[in-house]
């Protein structure tokens, strides 16, 4: 599946099977929010992002309207991933049970914090939000963070 972001003129590519796996995890956690990390790499010209996998946090708190994830135990996972495959952290995903796939102010603040984090080497992390119900994913949106804003892909 390929998506395009007009704001940054960039593409995002993800296998449908990977998206389905993420969706299934979200549905299983319903009615609570859940989420995790997205990993991948950029093309040599930095115009295309390939999302190759997701990672689940070892620790997380999921409530109906809130998801908090920790990076406890994850540092080595990210390091190993880069050492072995040169794939790296490229963003986040989480669910909005019974909600829309529009980002909230909490989501935006989280992405600002991520982009400003000194240990994050990317300036444009992406955010995947899945709007879910008890049995299915109603909708989903990928957005790219840039200059204190989130800009959706089409």
């Amino acid at each position: 599946m390929k998506f395009f972001n007009q704001h940054k003129q960039v593409s995002l590519i993800i296998e449908e099977t990977l998206l389905k796996k993420i969706s299934q995890i979200g549905i299983e956690k319903y009615p609570y929010e859940t989420g995790g990390f997205l990993v991948g790499y950029y093309s040599d010209d930095s115009m295309t992002l390939y999302i190759t996998d997701y990672l689940l946090p070892h620790k997380q708190k999921g409530m109906a309207y809130l998801f908090e994830r920790s990076i406890d135990g994850m540092k080595q996972v990210f390091k190993n991933l880069f050492d072995r495959q040169k794939h790296f952290y490229i963003g986040e995903w989480h669910t909005h049970p019974n909600g829309s796939c529009m980002y909230s102010s909490t989501d935006l603040n989280a992405m600002i914090e991520i982009a400003n984090c000194e240990t994050v080497n990317i300036t444009n992390p992406v955010l995947l939000i899945l709007s879910i119900t008890e049995k299915q994913v109603k909708d989903f949106t990928f957005s790219i963070y840039n200059n204190k804003g989130l800009h959706p892909y089409e």
């Binding site: 003129q9 809130l66 990210f78 790296f88 989480h94 909490t106 994050v120 080497n121 300036t123």
Partner: protein, 319 residues
Amino acid sequence: MDISKHDYLEKVLESHKMKHVSDFVSKHKTKRDEIKSELQSNYTGKIYVPINSGSYAKHTAINIKFDLDIIVPFKRDAFETLEEMFDSVYDFLYEKYKDKATVRKQKVSIGLEFYPDEDGEVINLDIVPGRELNQDKYLEDKKLNLYVNTLYGVLKEKTYIQTNIQAQIDHITAKENERKKIRLLKAWKHHNRETYKSFLLELLVIKAFDQANIDGNLWEKLKKTMEYIQNNVNQEGFTLKDPGNSGNNVIDTLNTNERQKLSDTMKRIIENIEANDDNIKIYFPINEKFEETDTQRGYGIKTASASVSIPPNNTRFGL
């Protein structure tokens, strides 16, 4: 100021990145490789493989003032004296490049400043000849003796200096936190025409991170680094060991007055910025040549190439 000091400093760093001058860097690298090859051919049997050094090799370079350094390690028996080594390399480079560049003897290096090319750009390279300390031991211990051509400071009576360039490079390896503050202080030095040696600032920042609790956002870390310098650089007994030569206390390159002045300057910068955020622009200006104004195309990374990213802890999302 309409943005935070942290965000502003990120813009300062971004505008000073080497990626903005990648074509210029490529020209330097091409010329550097050519010179390395020429030296190896000319001194076959007397020389080890030249190594890249300087701020670019240490990832502390900024795009305002830029050159590349080459360390040329010779075998112990290649020359009778260090002066002979220095003169030989100078003579060779002079004969080879006299029609293309200004070739001059510097303190421990031979500087090559090439005449402007078709784009009007000037390539600068510093060639540092060194002789291994003990015969056939360089590959093992990386120790070199450099000839000191221009005498300065505490080295007034010396005509050579022992160093270990690899140890100097290793000293800053994998210290991105420190490197950011080094780049900011180098930007301050260049924009404010300060004369402190970049190597001195580099060692001060590394020692600050080693000795003090430097945490917080980018501004808070820079402020704590400057506070460390303010509180320590003028203290009797303060040392700044050269990782390439433990007998070389780099703080001794400043006299007592200069150390006090550096301390006072750090104090003044912090006070003025705390009094008015906008003053940060005076001390740490954005390199306007590469200021990001419109949205740039493509995914961005903060360093020259992709690397591990560790996202922040306990991040909250939600409806």
